[in-house]
Symmetry: C2
């Protein structure tokens, strides 16, 4: 049973004395049969906690600076209309008490804590965002990661790997961006996809009749789950691991890439759909950066001299991580140039950077 957590905040122009604000509010809590405990705050204003029936808890703080905050926790099964009325009563009373002194009133949508379906998937740049997920479609642990597919009303099914939102059925924009935003002609070309287990790139790419697409993804479980539940992304392309112009190899891409390098095999396009750029900005200490450099170096090695390498970056606002990635591009054994563009991927709730890299 989830806990609903309401907040109601009054930002003021000048601090108020709790003696003039609190007494009028107490009667509202008393009407709801909530028992007050006033706490000693050592000069940080009034802090009262109010415990009621059915597990209800309210916290009223008249801070010593110009702010009044109210928290209200209740269980999901509680009488929500009654709680709304309580908040309305507090808001109305405070508007009267603080009249002329209010800079902002903020009453946010309730935070729902401990719900069956988790709706909070913070952005890569660390912001709190609530989604409209309403159903767990699939959840399993593979040898590599936790795999979840949740249903969202507006984004369709959403693939979440290790609690990181990967792709939703609504996100054709992602696939188009990592394929070069419609500027490339894949007809007759040799293409290598690293990762891509959701099948989005493969599904779009075969429409262009390349000579051969090789997709390397380590996780059969991801492929299998997406085949079943992400058909808005992959269509029927994952129904077979082999087709006229494609093959899916369920393998770790590193040894395969090393083998290609040894054999001197090259590709017209390498699309790295493995993972976003690590957010950590200490590349020396972070093994994900090391992995990224390894993949990048091997990929450029198997890239035809006139070929192109596409990959996602990360959130546009993570400028340090992106700069660091661009620094890595300057340190490859083979000199490369790059361009980047920013795309709006519907389910990401933040602007996302994509890179194109080619040999100088």
């Amino acid at each position: 049973m989830a806990l609903r957590h309401y907040t109601l905040d009054f930002k003021l122009s000048t601090a108020v004395d709790s003696a003039t604000t609190v007494p009028d509010l107490l009667s509202i809590f008393h009407e709801q049969e909530m028992t007050e405990t006033a706490h000693e705050t050592n000069g940080h204003g009034y802090l009262g906690t109010f415990v009621g029936k059915n597990g209800r808890l309210a916290i009223l703080r008249v801070h010593s600076h110009a702010l009044v905050t109210i928290d209200l926790q209740c269980y999901e099964e509680d009488n929500i209309a009654q709680l709304d009325n309580l908040l309305n009563a507090l808001e109305t009373k405070l508007k009267v008490i603080l009249n002329g002194n209010i800079t902002r009133i903020k009453r946010l949508p309730a935070l729902v804590r401990g719900a069956e379906v988790d709706r909070y998937w913070p952005t890569a740049d660390g912001r709190l965002v609530e989604y409209d997920m309403d159903q767990i479609v699939y959840e399993e642990d593979s040898a590599y990661q936790n795999i979840k597919i949740l249903h969202s009303q507006q984004y369709g099914n959403v693939l979440i790997l290790d609690n990181d939102l990967n792709l939703a059925e609504s996100d054709l924009a992602y696939t188009q961006a990592i394929m070069g935003s419609g500027r490339e002609n894949y007809a007759g070309k040799e293409v290598l996809i690293l990762g891509g287990g959701d099948g989005g790139i493969l599904s779009e790419m075969v429409k262009q009749k390349p000579k051969m697409i090789t997709m390397l993804d380590i996780s059969f479980k991801v492929i299998d789950a997406c085949k079943k539940y992400m058909r808005g992304t992959c269509g029927n392309i994952l129904d077979n691991l082999k087709g006229d112009c494609y093959q899916i190899l369920v393998e770790d891409c590193v040894p395969v890439l090393k083998k290609y390098v040894q054999e001197g095999k090259t590709f017209d396009y390498v699309i790295n759909d493995l993972t976003a750029i690590p957010i950590s900005t200490q590349p020396e200490e972070d093994s994900t950066w090391e992995f990224l450099r390894l993949i990048l170096d091997l990929s450029i090695k198997v890239l035809h001299p006139s070929g192109k390498y596409f990959t996602q970056g990360n959130a546009e606002t993570l400028t340090e991580a992106l700069s660091l990635y661009e620094e890595q591009l300057g340190k490859l054994s083979c000199p490369v140039a790059f361009s980047k563009e920013v795309t709006c991927v519907p389910s990401y709730l933040e602007q996302w950077v994509f890179y194109s890299v080619w040999k100088k």
Copy 2:
């Protein structure tokens, strides 16, 4: 001074006894010199509040069902690293205590309450979302509404009217969608824009050399603010209220529309950029629905028989409000047909519906 509010929740497979969980946690709070008050909850588990120095407050609840929740409030100027350590210590300890019984651990980005720049602008469908706004660029009250322009790192400047996020400089997708998504040819056409004070539609439309665009917006203050601070949207088009192929009339559109009807004046395109569809689903009792019907009826009356009417709808998930709007379309004095499409407008953080309407 803002209040940072952290939450840390453990969802469990089976309920736990507070006697086995709480004592081990108390020492962590005591180390931080936080004073415990245990509250009587009438069978709803353990509820302890902990008040510390610098205005710190923690709440620990071991609910009588399978959930443990922790809240931690501190001031912005507090030692954030120390608070992080406290949460880390609690999380680590709880992982040990609850080992084998944990379904989900959720530690959300801190809610920042009472900050100078408000970053929480819930979606139309009522979800809690945090933006990356970092600066108040403009704020003023007009006779009609509160006008705010905030700066966002990724969306540029964002226009907010009466606390409703209208448009960001990143949102060309909105303008393109409400102009018919590139399927229309405005060259040589007569166009009427209702609202549109941000100048986005006007700025895009003049590029297509229509015969004449008439824009009716009631608020000079909005136009003037956008001219200065939303240039990523309007370019230089608002620098003059009149140009080769456009005129901006700063007027209430209703009497002007009525005058056009009387004169028998018609337009090839009417673009209603006034407001989203009301969310309320009791149209009889809601004056915004009445206003919407009035505008719609007048707009269709001034529409050339082969003309098109474009407007925004609302969030894709507000299916009831959208259905109700479609019902209204069926009740107009002149019979119309319509189509709709869903667009991802970058700053909206939800899929948005746009309508095309034409006379049958």
